[in-house]
């Protein structure tokens, strides 16, 4: 294990130790992010800027630290979703699924959860809940049933579904980009455990809420009266979007063969969809459409990532990551199995309370630093799956564990349903623990 080489460190102002300066800025930035007092993009960019200003990094190093593959993949998928949603596809699928179960309350809860999980596997979790939760609220309003169990289940479904693929959750995108693990690698490694976790989550929800849900025949008839075809507002755009999404996912699946990074596939797909959406339209309409699609991208998230990459590289260069990896190895006695399971459980507990994106950003170089100890980077595979499962599923533990949780709570609040931290955690934390126990068994028996 090698620590940061001070000889390669840029000169820090006042001759201060690069390690201490970088660590102080890093910890300070993370504390302000956790306090939620300032927008996280502002904090991350300020922290990254300060690292350069005080001399821990120079601008060239800072730019080289930014993982544009992660940013490009996120941006490309955001653009594709922003264009696709105008077609009404997501409302169509949600209504169709509710009618498939004859508008029975538990059936709808289950189907909406499945729809949310599947969408989340291919789209960003926050986008997924923004698209599906309003339809859930509409349906529960018509059924005259309490929306809380439905929304709770959708929170879990979005975080569980997002864990299944490379593109489902930002931690996976970051891990995939840093390690070269492909869409197929994630799907093959994680889907076999995600399906049982989903089932194991739905069973307690049925006994706790599902079996008590009742709706009158008349209210069910209202839902059955929904015409899902009317939800499709732009059939041409729908066909174009589905074609592009299918090709993009095919591209992800063939990533290793075609040797093209996911960011290129996603951004190219977005560009093709923008082209199709604007063909034959006048310049003003094109400008309006493109501006709309670009401005609706989650720029806060993208800028947050940009700042984080620089911050984490700052402490990596200063030697803190190596020291943390050494400390973790010391704590686990260099035992590979114990290290993997410690990463799983540690990630789950921490991600239940803090944002999993900065956590994973820090863990990636830390795990990479363990490569020499455990026989090279190829041997680290179980650690990556442990990090992914822990960080993504841990977010289900509390209301603040994942962005999607807070977005659902916000939408629910506006529709008159309140989510409270403790009330949510009483049910969510044990369910999250079940998912981590299953992940523990899966990693242990399959990979260790």
């Amino acid at each position: 294990m090698t620590h940061g080489d001070p000889a390669h460190a840029a000169s820090v102002i006042l001759g201060l130790s690069p390690l201490w300066v970088a660590t102080t800025l890093f910890v300070g930035t993370y504390l302000v992010i956790m306090s939620d007092k300032l927008n996280r993009a502002i904090v991350a960019l300020l922290g990254a800027g300060l690292l350069i200003l005080v001399g821990v990094l120079n601008q060239h190093e800072a730019m080289a630290a930014v993982d544009f593959n992660t940013l490009g993949l996120l941006l490309g998928m955001m653009l594709i979703v922003n264009i696709t949603r105008r077609s009404g596809l997501f409302q169509y699928v949600a209504i169709w699924s509710a009618k498939k179960v004859d508008a029975r309350p538990w059936g709808i809860l289950l189907m909406m959860s499945i729809v949310t999980a599947v969408f989340s596997a291919f789209l960003d979790n926050v986008t997924t809940v923004l698209l599906t939760v309003p339809v859930t609220l509409l349906i529960t309003d018509e059924l005259k049933v309490k929306p809380y169990p439905y929304l709770f289940a959708q929170i879990f479904a979005s975080n569980i579904g997002g864990t299944a693929t490379l593109i489902g959750d930002p931690p996976n995108i970051m891990i995939g980009s840093a390690t070269g693990l492909t869409f197929n690698d994630f799907a093959i490694a994680l889907t076999p455990i995600i399906v049982p976790i989903f089932v194991a989550t739905m069973i307690p929800l049925y006994y706790y809420w599902g079996r008590h849900l009742r709706a009158t025949d008349e209210n069910r008839r209202h839902v059955m009266g929904f015409n899902e075809r009317e939800a499709i507002t732009d059939p041409r755009l729908l066909k174009q979007s589905l074609t592009v999404i299918a090709l993009v996912i095919l591209g992800f699946m063939l990533q290793r063969q075609i040797k093209i990074e996911p960011a290129t596939i996603a951004v190219f797909g977005a560009a093709v969809l923008l082209l199709l959406d604007n063909l034959g339209k006048d310049a003003e309409t094109q400008s309006k459409n493109v501006h709309g699609a670009l401005s609706e991208a989650e720029w806060i998230t993208l800028m947050f990532f940009l700042g984080l990459f620089i911050l984490v590289f700052g402490i990596q260069k200063a030697g803190l990551i190596d020291m943390m990896a050494d400390a973790l190895l010391k704590a686990t006695g260099g035992d590979f199995k114990l290290t993997a399971l410690a990463i799983l459980w540690g990630s789950a507990f921490l991600s239940a309370f803090i944002d999993n994106i900065p956590f994973v950003a820090t863990m990636i170089p830390l795990i990479k630093a363990m490569g020499p100890t455990f026989g090279g980077e190829n041997a680290l595979l179980p650690l990556w799956w442990a990090l992914s499962l822990g960080a993504c599923l841990g977010g289900n533990g509390t209301l603040i564990g994942a962005s999607a949780n807070l977005v659902v709570a916000g939408l629910a609040e506006r529709a008159g349903t309140t989510f409270r931290f403790v009330e949510f955690m009483k049910v969510a934390f044990p369910l999250m623990l079940i998912s981590i126990v299953l992940s523990h068994a899966y990693i242990y028996f399959r990979y260790l």
């Binding site: 309003p134 609220l137 018509e142 929904f226 939800a231």
Partner: protein, 153 residues
């Protein structure tokens, strides 16, 4: 002689104990889409707006501003909407009062009122600074009337 007022001092209004049914009838009779609401002492407490009333007919999911761009797939009939409205009618308007977008005062310069109307305001309450009582209502029509009266002079 004082110039003609740019606002009306005789105007339709509601008291906070009036019902939604009363408000609807008043709106139909006076052909307005919003009415000022005062308390028993005549103090202005806000506006009752038709769009707030229409919101009660809509599913809450359509009001959260995201995810439901239209409701063409919901086949609720006019009869169902009427039934929903019947449930709301006995409620007091005080539960539906919203703060006004703009308030002016009897001494507000006419040009400021013209600016607000130009910016899209309609039916602006004129409130006495000291007592908080509703002194009048200013609308685009009142402005036009006041301007024409000036021409005749």
């Amino acid at each position: 002689m004082n110039p003609p007022a740019i606002y009306q001092t005789v105007f339709p209004k509601l008291t906070d104990t009036d019902t939604i049914g009363d408000a609807m009838r008043r709106m139909l009779d006076d052909r307005v889409s919003d009415l000022p609401v005062v308390d028993a002492s005549g103090k202005f407490i806000g506006m009752f707006k038709l769009d707030r009333l229409y919101a009660t007919l809509l599913p809450k999911a359509a009001l959260i501003g995201y995810g439901i761009p239209d409701l063409t797939f919901v086949s609720d009939t006019l009869g169902q909407l009427r039934a929903r409205m019947r449930k709301v009618e006995p409620q007091a308007v005080r539960d539906y009062v919203v703060p006004p977008d703009h308030v002016v005062h009897p001494d507000t310069p006419p040009l400021e009122i013209v600016l607000l109307l130009h910016q899209g305001a309609n039916n602006i309450p004129v409130v006495d600074r000291d007592s908080g009582r509703l002194a009048g209502m200013a609308s685009a029509r009142d402005l036009l009337t006041a301007l024409q009266a000036g021409d005749k002079k």
